[in-house]
Symmetry: D3
Subunit: 238 residues, 6 copies
């Protein structure tokens, strides 16, 4: 029995609310149960120096947590003077995941920065961030199309969504919340496209190494979860 | 005529929503028009080293802005590796303002950290922060009383609220929004108590120095504005 | 009775010595009693990037304290790797105060940097800094005029001086020294022009909030003190 | 045809040389072809503060590259003042991978720090690091046993080795070198135990998302590669 | 002919003024011509962690330059966020030089920090700093003796003074000023004791390597210069 | 008797192995006994901003130690976020020493960066670094000549080598190892050219100031040692 009484393949209630911040070209408040992330997409007519003059754009991400998004207060990274290792890892993952679905040439020499700020954390902040980031990114690209800044129809080639899975008390379960995550033997995050292909897989044995069969069971769960998230994304941007 | 068509002594619509984050001992989403700040109050059983063993507690504040709280994206301070001068100034102001109304001895050797994170900025983020912070702080102290952690009834001696005033096109006006603030000749922030006394006054001539009479006119407006904010705080925590 | 036996409206002995450093375009050793600040004004033919090409100049300030300017040694900020919050607040105040009296267009696309370094601190370092900074700035601008770098006669529109006031044992007093400052209930700094208008007001209730009447009494004292400081500035640069 | 003319399932020449630094409790120079990493294991009788008093030890890792380990010189991170995101990601991966095979309780309240410094980089520095790190760690633990610092026989429960795989010009290949890695569509790193279970999987679509079948083909290659690396580790420590 | 018209073995006018800052246990304004350094010595009843419990004290030094001590303004190190390489080198030299003359056991478990802040720089700031630092240190130790904090008579075993020499237009000269230093082929700094022994020698060929005979000529000049400085130190503390 | 049983004027076994890293334009693994330093020389077609457009090149150096190069693990400077004072001092010394032998005009507007990374430390890492750096630099310059990037024959004017000397138990000895260095009363480093002239001398009294005669004895030893090192350099690059 999961602490939340969910079935093993059951997501938490998911919501994707668009347009939550008035200035951003795209924005989304994404909730996976008690995990709430505010995502904004910002369009800028500039590029990092190493990309200039190559005829293509860039999508990057930054990630942060409000200090009291967590059970105990976490030190503010701006006050600590640096982003922690976990933050860096997550924001690199978000950026890579989104770029895999964007036609950077069609974007032109511009940068879209996706900011994912965790308002409340209950496990799965990186997967919620990616799922919501796709919605904010889609709105940003729609905003550009409306202004004829881009011509191609497929700048955003496919949906991108992410979900975690893990083995909790011997059973593979979908979309771990914090209570499960802190107990799980194995924790895996899957980033997938709307057509079911894989962008990124990260599986970690927290305590005991796992078998290939266990990993395949997690991947199967993830496939179902991502399909459901993609449906919700399509509803949200419809 | 103000850009928002408000009367010179009219506040923007103000709301103070409590309990918006599930982990914090106190929290408040404060809105002054399009300025939205999420405030949390965190109780910790520890003190900064220089305060230990003196039989009294501490209230401190930190302030931040989400990168896209602003019209153009602002660089994330955690990524820049330091808090800017404006941030430091504001969080020191918030901390001082709250401490002026707290009986630190009655608090015991504990620290309350108030985090003010600006979700959306349209002028007056520091005054909204202080006004919302008082609500979060009040809830945190109530939380402690419910657990018999403090005995005194007057740990929080009085309300604290803050408002900005300025001279916009020659007229003293209350509660500047961004359109006014960026044009105003003079900008002043007042932090006051429920009984009308002053905790902090900061008046700055952006362009032209101002006369004592002009300053007194601003103070009079502030007095009215703060009285209204204190009424709203009382309604909120009732 | 004040610890220094001064009358409530009596300044400490003030001196403004010009030309104390041989390389600077303007310099001033300012003393308010035992508070000694060395101020230099540096002219540079460059601007911060965000100001370029706008046809106007900039005046900025930096502030520091020698480690043993204080009763106990203060950690050197260069060794600590960052400027503290108090430093940042003060140097922003000094810069704003001076800019309010300078015609930045007439200055041309140049920057004047005013460095205020506290050699010995006995309260009131920020007000002494501003008062001395005006002298160094005036000399720097005179230096430019002598070289025909500026044509306008009113680049420096008016004098700028600053003084602190506070309520010490119930009595409003002028120009707090450290012994008074550490005891005062209320502390306010006033930056004013030669014609008696206000550039900046900062009033803080250290312990007990103060009334409007108390604040007006402080402002009245400040007016007298600044008038005296302006006389001394005029003597100094005559 | 691979640039190196290797068969798709062929590792580069691998060597694991022990005892290469005279002070370390364990050390290994690991070479995967032209990728050379110097690994040391350091035993210290201290723990990070958050682990103290829990009756168990810790294994952590740090990673670095000499500036000219790469084709073009990379900026020295010590001079830049921070470790980059890639470095942080890799050293966290190495630490997690090793901990999964160590009985931290049996280790006692001590920390082993594994330093992986890349002398020359030609792709696969993280997998070479993990594979060599296991050897250095094994020697460090043997050193402790020789001094009766630990009693249990299974402090190191199993071998740990890692290998990369990728899809190069449509073909799944094992142990990518730099020429392949910079061209590959998909890149995956597998960390596995001696008994064939998985500790960590990281698969990334550099350009085009990949299918589950492609991923399984990579995993199959990895299994073979890791088995061979484990054999080499056993030879090395025999 | 030297730019200053001094004879080759002639020092600049040197002054050592004691007691220039009211809080410090020892202080000295040292002037070598237009090079002015304010030195303070601070006694603290604490030690760096690695020295605790060894029954001896420590003497350390910090060095800084006011931004406009130089012909062109130098960036403030506190604002830059770190001390430059030259600063670090100099403060380590000052600390080592003083420690060579102090009986650290007799000092007891205390630290004396010597701060050398350059008010105006015209070459030779490090040698002026060391020479003035000895005076401030001597006063600090006298202050301790007056309070019976130390008993031994020889805590300060001998005088320490320093001077630069160089080869300017082919001639060995003593006490380089900036005009000479920036032209000199060879630059050497000598730190010596009152009895003529050497604490530290640093010779650098700025352009052309120098011969042993040239170096000995510089050492001979330095010996004379230091003897004169030691006489002036004795006069100052008499 | 020296701990290593060497004669007072006997170097440790020295080796200079070229071409140890495949990408660098020049490289050398230098060993002075158990002190091992990996040196690479990198040619870059860029200059530091302050050197641009002056028609000459630059040679600079960076220095680092692997964390377990030492008896006890040293904290990684990249993780600490800054280079320590000792590192900065040494890398500045290496850069100055090499530049004294290079015709920077003939080099053209290019920079050569020499990286010295200590693999194992047993005293004398800075002198080994300089001696090996000359070999890597010579190879880098030969590499440029082979590609007709430079025409002059004397870009590298002379050999540069360095050695330490010290007074160990009353006897002047050459090439201190760690056991001697930590005991020596006096420690001096000499950087000299192939024709016996001096580039840099640094002598420090660790405990007791030393006499001029003692210093001359050290210099005589150094002369012999450097002559031997220069012979070995000539053999290495022949």
């Amino acid at each position: 029995m999961r602490p939340s009484r969910r079935a093993p393949d059951q997501l938490r209630p998911v919501s994707l609310e668009r347009g939550v911040v008035k200035y951003a070209e795209g924005s989304c408040m994404v909730k996976f149960g008690d995990t709430h992330v505010l995502v904004t997409a910002t369009l800028e007519e500039r590029l990092p120096p190493w990309l200039k003059g190559q005829g293509r754009g860039w999508v990057t991400a930054e990630y942060g947590m409000l200090p009291r998004a967590t059970l105990e207060r976490t030190r503010r990274e701006a006050a600590a003077g640096k982003q922690g290792g976990r933050t860096v890892e997550i924001q690199r993952l978000i950026g890579r995941s989104l770029r895999a679905a964007v036609d950077l040439e069609a974007l032109g020499e511009r940068q879209i920065t996706v900011d994912c700020d965790v308002i409340q954390a209950d496990g799965g902040t990186r997967t919620a961030s990616i799922t919501g980031a796709w919605v904010a990114l889609a709105d940003c690209i729609a905003w550009m199309k409306n202004r004829n800044m881009i011509k191609a129809n497929n700048v955003l080639r496919d949906n991108v969504a992410a979900i975690s899975c893990g083995i909790y008390q011997g059973t593979p379960v979908l979309d771990l919340d914090y209570a499960e995550d802190s107990e799980a033997d194995t924790d895996a995050n899957f980033v997938m496209t709307g057509d079911g292909r894989i962008i990124e897989v990260q599986g970690t044995a927290e305590k005991t190494p796992f078998s290939q069969d266990e990993f395949l069971a997690l991947m199967e769960l993830a496939r179902k979860g991502v399909a459901r998230l993609v449906d919700l994304q399509k509803l949200a941007v419809a």
